[in-house]
């Protein structure tokens, strides 16, 4: 069955992942983001 798929396709699907920069951005974004709650309100702050 695997023979039905061209090698290029198999290679491409293994390559299908986001860029390292995107992942780094997300991790840094997560570290920078803080959510403060006050009564019923929420405040987001990004600390760079």
């Amino acid at each position: 069955m695997a023979k039905l798929y061209p090698n290029k396709f198999i290679k491409e699907s293994n390559d299908l992942k986001p860029k390292e920069e995107t992942v780094h951005f997300l991790l840094n974004y997560s570290k920078a983001l803080s959510v403060t709650k006050y009564k019923n309100m929420e405040f987001e702050s990004l600390l760079n």
């Binding site: 699907s13 299908l16 986001p18 997300l26 974004y29 997560s30 959510v35």
Partner: protein
């Protein structure tokens, strides 16, 4: 698989408690599956990258706000967010079609058939006939000004010269012609659409 799910839930709760490294594990564990899912829908690496990023921004915000309540179902939850963002992308794109930059040239992106199809042609003719009938109902002086202005594309100065009335009178007649047309349309519930 069971162990994986438990671990996801544990990672999520440690992330909520402030352990940033838990997010790194979660992203690296699921990034390929989520990215492939998005790519399989949009077939554009840059767009997939953007949607992947937006997905995790939503995930991060929801978790930090303490709004996540689907413990043990982390991946399906993220997939659903990605799916919704893909739908948003297609909705936005259908409203604002743009040229893709993949290098492939499609002749249909610059050529389009602007002529009306048979149905629209018939509707257009019907609408025009209805409008003509409505105009015929108007008083003669108003009809005269309206025909000169709309169909002959004459200026109000030319109309006043031709009809021998002042420009203000011509303007007034045009105004009343339009008011009367609207009245007739409202009164008879006529729908003029194309």
């Amino acid at each position: 698989m069971k162990q994986n799910l438990t671990l996801d839930a544990t990672l999520v709760s440690s992330y909520i408690k402030g352990d940033e490294s838990a997010l790194e594990v979660l992203i690296s564990r699921h990034k390929q599956k989520i990215y492939s899912f998005i790519y399989s829908k949009v077939y554009d690496k840059d767009v997939a990258e953007d949607i992947f990023q937006d997905t995790f921004i939503k995930v991060i915000k929801t978790l930090k706000r303490g709004k996540y309540n689907e413990e043990g179902k982390f991946l399906p939850w993220v997939m659903r967010i990605a799916h919704n963002l893909v739908i948003d992308f297609f909705r936005k794109n259908s409203r604002m079609p743009k040229f893709d930059n993949t290098g492939e040239f499609s002749i249909f992106s610059v050529l389009s058939d602007s002529s009306l199809n048979a149905e629209k042609q018939i509707i257009k003719e019907q609408v025009e006939t209805d409008v003509r009938r409505l105009v015929d109902e108007l008083p003669e002086d108003q009809k005269e000004v309206l025909l000169m202005r709309i169909y002959n594309d004459m200026s109000f100065k030319e109309i006043s010269e031709r009809t021998g009335v002042s420009i203000n009178t011509a303007l007034g007649r045009m105004r009343y012609a339009l008011i009367n047309l609207r009245k007739i349309i409202d009164k008879h519930n006529i729908v003029l659409t194309n």
